[in-house]
């Protein structure tokens, strides 16, 4: 390890993060008080439905939210002992790609179609390391090999459009890991891929995490993917974390009504069901969030208190936090 090993087991800790977008129709509170911690060498999955603020959370950590219209209204992002929100642009540029790397939701936006994948990987290396182009190319080939791209010596000179979706995603992972980052943020890395290719990429990410000893923040809306890769899980709803737990607990004993409903409503290969349980309604508009608990219009357990009081994340068991006024539910409703 080259990094000065902080005694702290947390590589990343996000506290009360708020990222807003100011537009003509009003202020969209895309991320509105998000907090979680990612221990070193572990995988945290951030899971939630479209628009709940997962990508904006990731982009905020990377310092990539356009300002304006974006505005970071509060929070701390403590990475390896330093608050990233306090770093100047140069320090942040140095960190990004180097110690924190990200794979973006749309693969084609992060690969430039005009350059070979080899040039693009080498470029990232040259920007941060004092080595020559020859060495950088060697390293790029090595990276392609490590993401199990066959015949990397030939593939390195290909253009992105010549690669299949799965190969392109491998090339992106190679680029992200080229500088041996401590933290990899992967935003829906397999959503656009077929299931058989998704299985390959998830397997690869698991192996690489062990090989490189990095921490992984994986963003997904797929609870199946969460079950496959997560050590820890944070469930997001309408700009907030509503539940945090280790993966086994989250699936066995979910505590938030949203998590319970979501898990109940997905059809399962392992059980026979006639009618699927349903979470009624839809996710709220971020410009007009409900008062009180943001989930209350869809929640079968909601009462008058839920319409008025906004619940904070609180522990219901060691390492298990839930933002629900009726938690633990079994005591209130059963």
């Amino acid at each position: 390890m080259t990094a000065p090993a902080a005694p702290d087991a947390k590589l990343l800790e996000v506290r009360d993060l708020r990222t807003y977008f100011v537009g003509e129709d009003g202020t969209s509170r895309a991320v509105d008080g998000v907090g979680f911690a990612l221990p070193r060498g572990r995988t945290l999955c951030l899971v939630g439905e479209s628009g709940c603020g997962k990508s904006v959370t990731a982009l905020t950590i990377m310092g990539l939210v356009p300002q304006p219209p974006g505005k970071i209204a509060s929070g701390e992002i403590v990475f390896d002992g330093r608050d990233l929100l306090k770093l100047d642009r140069e320090a942040m540029n140095d960190l990004r790609g180097n110690r924190v790397a990200m794979i973006f939701q749309e693969p084609m936006t992060s690969l430039n179609p005009a350059f070979t994948i080899g040039d693009q990987i080498a470029e990232v290396i040259l920007r941060h390391r004092k080595i020559g182009p020859r060495e950088a190319r060697e390293r790029a080939i090595e990276m392609l090999r490590r993401v199990r791209i066959p015949a990397p010596e030939q593939r390195i000179d290909e253009y992105p459009h010549k690669l299949s979706g799965g190969m392109r995603q491998r090339a992106m992972i190679a680029m992200a890991l080229a500088l041996d980052p401590q933290l990899l943020i992967a935003d829906e890395p397999t959503t656009a891929l077929d299931v058989t290719i998704q299985a390959q990429i998830l397997e690869l990410l698991r192996e690489l995490r062990a090989e490189f000893g990095m921490s992984l923040l994986l963003i997904t809306h797929d609870l199946g993917v969460v079950a496959e890769v997560a050590d820890e899980v944070a469930v997001m709803y309408a700009g907030r974390i509503v539940e945090r737990a280790d993966a086994a607990t989250l699936f066995r004993r979910p505590g938030h009504p949203y998590t319970i409903g979501l898990l109940a409503s997905i059809p399962k290969l392992t059980v026979e069901q006639d009618e699927l349980p349903v979470v009624e309604g839809a996710v709220p508009n971020p410009l007009a969030l409900p008062a009180g608990c943001r989930f209350h219009p869809r929640c079968p357990f909601a009462d008058e208190e839920c319409r008025r009081t906004d619940p904070a994340l609180a522990a219901i068991a060691p390492g298990h936090e839930v933002a629900c006024l009726k938690a633990p539910l079994e005591r209130h409703v059963l």
Binding site: E49, S50, S164, G166, M167, D194, V195, T196, I197, Q198, A199, Q200, L202, E203, H221, D222, L223, G224, V225, V226, A227, E228, A230, A247, A248, F251, R252, R253, P254, P257, I260, G261, L262, L263, A264, S265, I266, P267, K268, L269, T270, V271, Q273, E275, L276, P277, V278, V279, E280, A282, V283, R298, P300, F301, L329, E330, V333, L334
Partner: protein, 376 residues
């Protein structure tokens, strides 16, 4: 002739019969737009569908599912093969008859955002197929629109609104209401829930099922979500590079998949249960190009069981069990797949909490369905 399965044999009059269906798309290049090759999108497909039945088409991107669905509705013309709907050869129909037919077959598209006209009110959009088929006068059509909105769990006043005022799930319901307007017999649903939020998918899946039970609709459900398919379908056809490689009753196919590709597909699905332990056969490589599919068995380049014969000779669909056919030379030797079992024991407390999420609007919807049923 293919042998009929039990299911097919019992339904004397299938609503749909497809035989030897082929669709090749020419690939053009250069200024002269010369055809330089053929995408063999659908390459010899036979199937039948009984009234009230759901057949699911599954397989990876580009295997020809949407093309097959569009061929069945004659939205595109086949290169070869026959399609019979309610006994009629639809390739032989003239314009007038084709318009009649369109009333009895409808399609629901994947993208609820792109498939609705943004400049029309929801009411006009649902009434459009009624006008096209000359159903009722303006007042009757208005009544029918209100009824259809009720059927899909929306409100009569929604008729005056525009699509952008609705969420994804609501838009998909509008698409379904529109498809139902002219009382079709067959609906092709092309990825009807893939673009929806997870919590909305169940709402739409339940709705499609209720409507089917009520009106005896037949569905061709195109989906890459195998859990959705297991929940909704009666029979499943697995496609690979334009061909059906396995087809069977849902139970038989999920309990004992025979084709190595079906097994790989099933074992690749991430299961929302961290306690599930399974031996995974992760398929290597990518799907080959449909421009130039591999000779012999098209799956041989990725198959763990492939031998010399697979590279030379194309396997035909053979009956492996009642109502279950598979196209693999060596299906008898492919080891049975371990069944996927729940790893988490159903926690009784969790089951009771989940019980609170039974659809609250179920009763209202039942009432709406009952009154609509009484009318027809």
């Amino acid at each position: 002739m293919v042998s009929l399965s039990n299911h097919e044999a019992t339904s004397a009059h299938p609503i749909l019969e497809v035989a030897g269906l082929v669709k090749h798309f020419p690939v053009r290049k250069g200024v002269l737009q010369r055809a330089v090759g053929q995408v063999r999108a659908v390459d010899g497909v036979d199937l039948t569908l009984a009234p009230g039945e759901t057949l699911a088409l599954v397989g990876e991107s580009g295997c020809g599912k949407s093309t097959l669905g569009r061929l069945v509705l004659r939205l595109i013309e086949p290169t070869a093969g026959s399609i019979r709907f309610e006994g009629q050869d639809i390739r032989a129909l003239g314009d007038r008859e084709l318009r009649d037919l369109r009333g009895r077959m409808q399609i629901i598209f994947q993208d609820p955002y792109a498939s609705l006209n943004p400049t029309m009110t929801v009411g006009d959009m649902i009434a459009e197929p009624l006008m096209l088929h000359g159903v009722g006068n303006a007042a009757e059509r208005r009544r029918r629109v209100a009824e259809l909105l009720g059927l899909v769990g929306l409100m009569p006043h929604h008729a005056r609104r525009f699509p952008h005022e609705f969420s994804g799930g609501q838009r998909q319901r509008i698409g379904i209401a529109r498809a139902l307007a002219v009382e079709p017999r067959l609906i092709v649903a092309d990825e009807p829930v893939s673009a929806l939020d997870v919590s909305i998918q169940a709402q739409v899946i339940n709705l499609l099922r209720d409507l089917q039970r009520r009106f005896g609709l037949s569905y061709i459900l195109i989906s890459h979500g195998l859990a959705v398919v297991k929940h909704v379908a009666d029979r499943v056809a697995v496609m690979y590079l334009g061909k059906i490689v396995e087809i069977g009753d849902k139970r038989s196919l999920f309990a004992a998949p025979r084709h190595p590709y079906t097994q790989a597909l099933l074992s690749a699905i991430p299961i929302p249960d961290p306690a599930v332990k399974r031996r995974r056969a992760i398929l290597q490589g990518d799907v080959p190009s449909p421009l130039n599919p591999p000779p012999g068995c098209r799956f041989h380049t990725r198959c763990a069981f492939a031998r010399e014969r697979c590279r030379k000779e194309e396997p035909l669909l053979e009956t492996a069990a009642a109502g279950h056919r598979v196209a693999c030379h060596f299906w008898r030797e492919v080891p049975a797949m371990e069944p996927i079992r729940a790893g988490i024991d159903a926690d009784p407390q969790l089951v009771r909490l989940q019980g609170f999420f039974r659809s609250r609007r179920r009763d209202e919807r039942d009432a709406a369905l009952a009154s609509a049923g009484a009318r027809t």
